[in-house]
Amino acid sequence: MAYLLFSLSLLLVYIGLAQMLHVQFGLLGIPNFGVVGFWGFGMYFVGVLQVQLSMSFVDAMILSSVILAAISYGLGHLILRLERQAILCATIAFSAIIALLVVTEKWATMGVVGLGTIRYPLRVFGAEEVLHFTLLLVFVIAAQLYLHRLHGSRLGRLMIAIRDNEELAASLGKDTFRVKLHAFTITATIMGILGGLSAALNQFLTPNMIVPSITFAVWISLVLGGKEHALGPMMGVFVTFGIFDIFIETYAPVSPEFAVLVPNIKLFLYGALLVAVLLYRPSGFLDKDTTPADILGGILRAIAATLGGVITALSVTAKGVETLAAKTKKDDDA
């Protein structure tokens, strides 16, 4: 149960990161390939302040967010006027720098030895994990509600216009750079806040947590789920992290001799799914016009298809068993 709660909390963190990337890339077209850098900054900064300086969680979070906002603002100033490829490289470089600093600055981060223990912010004995999960849940739901409003707002419309044709939007009097800079700063800072919330979740921080595969997992989720749909990030994380990492890896009834294969099969299926989606549905499961009714219909169809498959499989097996039994009986009679 505790492990499930941890996994679900992590799932929420991933959803939060994908939501922010949805604003950056899905709405504004900023290809941030340094997601793990912003998240990792928040996680380590909050962790270091709490462990080394005995700061309270709230103080550490505020200080970390202010510093990350300043860094993101500065970084945005440097890169957001550039071509998309340049932004991509610069954000990767940013996350690499963070990953490196975490290893080298041993006086603060303890380097590869690891930093701990970071306690849960809400300390009610026995309910800390549940409360932390609830905190993340509230955070993600709030972000989701805001995203829904954003999609139907003037600001959302302007963001989409900037993604489609920035020069044209500017010629209509829109301050496109300002919109991009502010949105980048805000979303990058929220990625850091999610990092700060992850610090307590992980309790013990090591540099091998700041790896590019987190960035890729968030990107894959967004692309699979649908980068232009408000529910795309959530959908994508459920399909990738939810089904593969939590359900299959932890709960699928796999016999011990095959258990070692599961992570590899997971990666294989991840890849196959991504290729299939990119080939047959490039805009992701949810494209920008998908309605809630479509989503519900899709889920029902998926359940029906699964049930149908299971029933067919069962009936085929039953028939086979029957035939076999009949045959055995016949043989016995003979």
Binding site: R154, L158, D164, L172, G173, K174
Partner: protein, 249 residues
Amino acid sequence: MKLHMQGLSKSYHAGHPVLDVPEGTLGEYGLEGLIGPNGAGKSTMMGLLTRRIAPSTGSVTLEDGKTTHRLNPLKSHDVARLGLVKTNQRIQGFESLTIRDSLRLAATPFGQETYRGVLRDTTMDAAIETEIDAYLARFKFDDPDGFAKSGGEKKLLDILRCMILKPRMLLMDEPTAGLPDDVTQEVMKLVGEKVKAKEMTVVIVEHDLELIWKHCKYVHFLSEGAILFHGTPKDVKKNRVVAEKYMGI
């Protein structure tokens, strides 16, 4: 609104200016035309005037009755906010926005796209909707709530987006290219009305000379990067340089 060019030039390779205008004024006569052969530098001039392209030398100033604005330090969006707007020669658009949304985007006053506004319902503004409805009643689209489908619709949408910004000075870069004839007539009628009501001054870059002679009060002739002649349509038609260099007579 008037535009002054002073020593304005643009060269991509040193010593080979694409445009070189020692001095010039646009917008004194309400509706003006800018003509010239292909490669004369017409679109470059439009780009320089709206700050989409940075000049190599020289300056542009915008005279607005009482105040004079230097455009050189400004960004593209600042120029639009002063009321100087340009329609595009090549088809430009927002592919994810419907025709109506595209017009709403343009009609939304500058800086009203706020984060707090996301929480209030501000997408629909009665005044803006009425204005958009009026434009859509006058100019027919196949499906105004859908996307612009043909090149003609996209071009028309580009022009309407600029009109709905209520510019004080409008530069039109080849408005008729790609537009059906009847739509062109209607656009020119609308432009004529706005100019007559002194709501805006207009400069039209065009190859369709009939349109220029019919609507423009004053015409500038641009060739090989320089304004070679300017005058009333009658004078320009009679001018030998224009005839030789452009009309091939």
